[in-house]
């Protein structure tokens, strides 16, 4: 009896410790390194000057200008001037000599200042200039705690990106992914969440059993996923700031493919409790299930349209896996893909006008985009075992899982196929990327 109590106490202590670990900030450490492998010809030249620091003060823990330069480089759409090639390093508007930057062919210039405040926080000021007009385009001032500086840097990148491309930036976002470390003792699986540049990785679930299908809640506060703990698949929803989780589905058979509705009130999922895999929508508050599909075939991998009015899913009711669309209220499913013998795991682009999916053709599995207006299918990747495409919330890039010589790896490709990125994990297989929604500032 005493043993039991002690064991329960030990479990509680473990839970607290792991929650504590998850909430500790680990600044500056990247497990994923992201490298651009193909950029756009004629990427926009931009000069980013290292931010000015006040003399004699403790320098901030991160190099803000470097983070902004890395973000813009990674997008493939900007070509920042190396710091060593800068003609001057102004940190005040009055000190800028535009002619110097014009001579180097720079379209734009970013300068800034970091100042330590008496309360331990930092004040951050930055300006974006149009070099040819010699005029300021944007100017902002932030205040941040030391461990918030990386995030502020990403927000500066978002402001610069939007001002110069007209498209909202997605640097201040996060990515979730699953890692597997193999050893003689068996595999160890982890669900991780990192910043969009691979920094600040945090393990949110560590398990001896496989973890699949992470899915972000629309407000970015929770992750749903499938875990095989106890040798059965169950869907969980985990609060990322607190670390607590709840079981969403634990029916007999499959419990898989969770997908939060855009309003966050429902979750689509695959259950086989009624005999074979079917798509259901659960009202999260009441746990009431509505069955959407009726077929003797496999129906799975539901994804919501951005307006929440319809879903796409994978079904092999026609003999091979293909993508179908069905109203969220139920009814007739319409087939969307006709090219190739294998099309699966579709997700909507944020504008709802296209789908990303896995396209199997002649033994290769690649990421493709299907234009819903003209039904054109465009294959974006060149490798052969690609899966799990996930759109950036601004629709500019797709993250996906691929297999290279080292095992499972992540890669990124712009939706026009012009920019390519490689995300290398320091150890183990990495897979199942899921890009977060935009974060609330």
């Amino acid at each position: 009896m005493i043993v039991n109590v002690n064991r329960r106490l030990a479990l509680v202590l473990c839970a607290c410790a792991s929650m504590l670990m998850a909430s500790l900030p680990r600044t500056g450490h990247a497990v994923l390194t992201i490298r651009i492998t193909q950029g756009i010809e004629g990427a926009l030249p931009i000069a980013i000057v290292p931010f000015g620091l006040q003399a004699g003060a403790q320098p901030p823990p991160v190099d803000v200008a470097q983070i902004v330069a890395n973000d813009l480089t990674r997008s493939g759409r900007f070509s920042p001037l190396p710091f060593g090639d800068l003609p001057s390093r102004p940190s005040e508007a009055s000190a800028v000599n535009f002619a110097d930057f014009r001579l180097l062919g720079m379209n734009n210039l970013v300068i800034g200042k970091v100042r330590a405040l008496a309360n331990g926080r930092y004040s951050l000021e930055f300006r974006l200039f149009d070099v040819f007009r010699g005029a300021q385009v944007k100017g902002y001032e932030f205040e941040a705690a030391p461990d918030e500086l990386r995030r502020k840097a990403h927000q500066i990148s978002d402001i610069v990106y939007e001002a110069l491309t007209g498209e909202r930036g997605a640097f201040d976002t996060r990515i979730a992914y699953v890692t597997e470390k193999k050893s003689a003792a068996g595999s160890r699986y982890a669900l991780n969440v990192a910043d969009s540049d691979g920094f600040n990785p945090q393990v949110v679930l560590d398990s001896k059993s496989p973890i699949v299908s992470p899915s972000w809640s629309p407000d970015g506060s929770q992750l749903a996923y499938v875990s095989f703990e106890g040798n059965r698949p169950r869907i969980f929803a985990q609060n990322l700031s607190v670390g607590t989780r709840q079981v969403i589905a634990a029916f007999p058979g499959l419990n898989g493919a969770p997908a939060w509705s855009p309003d966050g009130k429902s979750m689509a999922m695959t259950l086989s409790k009624d005999g074979n895999p079917e798509v259901y929508v659960m009202d999260i508050a009441t746990r009431l299930l509505k069955r959407l599909t009726v077929s003797a075939a496999i129906d799975t991998e539901p994804a919501w349209s951005p307006d929440g009015k319809s879903l796409v899913f994978t079904s092999d009711r026609g003999g091979t896996p293909q993508i179908y669309r069905i109203p969220a209220s139920g009814g007739q499913a319409t087939r969307l893909t006709f090219e190739g013998k294998y099309n699966s795991r579709a997700t909507f682009a944020p504008d709802g006008k296209s789908l990303s999916l896995v396209h199997g053709d002649k033994g290769t599995f690649r990421i493709a985009v299907l234009d819903l207006e003209n039904n054109a299918l465009r294959v974006l990747t060149k490798t052969t075992l690609d899966e799990s495409p996930s759109f950036a919330p601004n629709g500019s890039m797709l993250l996906y899982a691929t297999t290279d010589a080292g095992g499972g790896a992540l890669a990124g490709v712009s939706t026009d196929g012009r920019v390519r990125q490689e995300l290398a994990a320091q150890q183990g297989d990495v897979r199942e990327p899921a890009w977060s929604p935009f974060r609330q500032p």
Binding site: V212, T320, Y342, R345
Partner: protein
């Protein structure tokens, strides 16, 4: 049983023959070895049973542990994106179904798996369909529903590493795992 008896008789005859031969050398020491021979004949009657088992029909251990039985084979394989049970694997499933119908206390988990190609959730569904196909086949042959549990790991737990057809063929499978014998 009859075969066992024959072997036993054959063995006793051989020992008697051996003793007779040795007897021709004619030493008292060999006389004592006759006693020894007769006692070795007794122990040989025990080993005679073993000889019969070696011939394939008299396993005395648990039937599930007999390495020469179809029951020792616990994995059946599938073609890509298919859940049709292959002719080559039917005898294996028949043997397990028969065992389960004769042993109502026994129970298995039918674990469905796929190769790595295609998407993970589709593969979880495909692995389940394979496990369900095996369950239906075994239940038609007399195994009871409560003896047959299905579980799919999709592509999450490959049996063979490697990204080629050889590995993929080994990974498209259903494993029969005995939860109780």
């Amino acid at each position: 049983m009859r075969k066992g008896l024959n072997s036993l008789l054959l063995l006793i005859f051989s020992v008697a023959f051996l003793v007779a031969c040795e007897g021709t050398t004619g030493t008292t020491k060999d006389e004592s070895s006759v006693t020894g021979g007769s006692s070795s004949g007794t122990s040989s009657s025990g080993s005679a049973t073993t000889t019969a088992a070696g011939s394939g029909s008299g396993w005395t251990g648990h039937p599930l542990d007999d390495p020469n039985s179809l029951l020792a084979r616990r994995t059946v394989y599938f073609d890509f994106d298919e859940s049709v049970i292959l002719d080559q694997d039917r005898p294996i499933l028949e043997a397990h179904a028969q065992y389960l119908s004769q042993n109502p206390g026994a129970a298995v988990t039918l674990e469905g798996h796929t190769d790595e190609r295609g998407t993970r959730e589709y593969n979880l569904a495909l692995g389940e369909r394979r496990a369900v196909a095996v369950r239906q086949f075994m239940s038609l042959l007399g195994a009871a529903g409560q003896q047959l549990r299905t579980l799919s790991y999709g592509e999450e737990r490959p049996a063979a590493a490697g990204h080629n057809e050889e590995a993929w063929a080994l990974n498209r499978r259903v494993e029969i795992i005995y939860r109780s014998k």
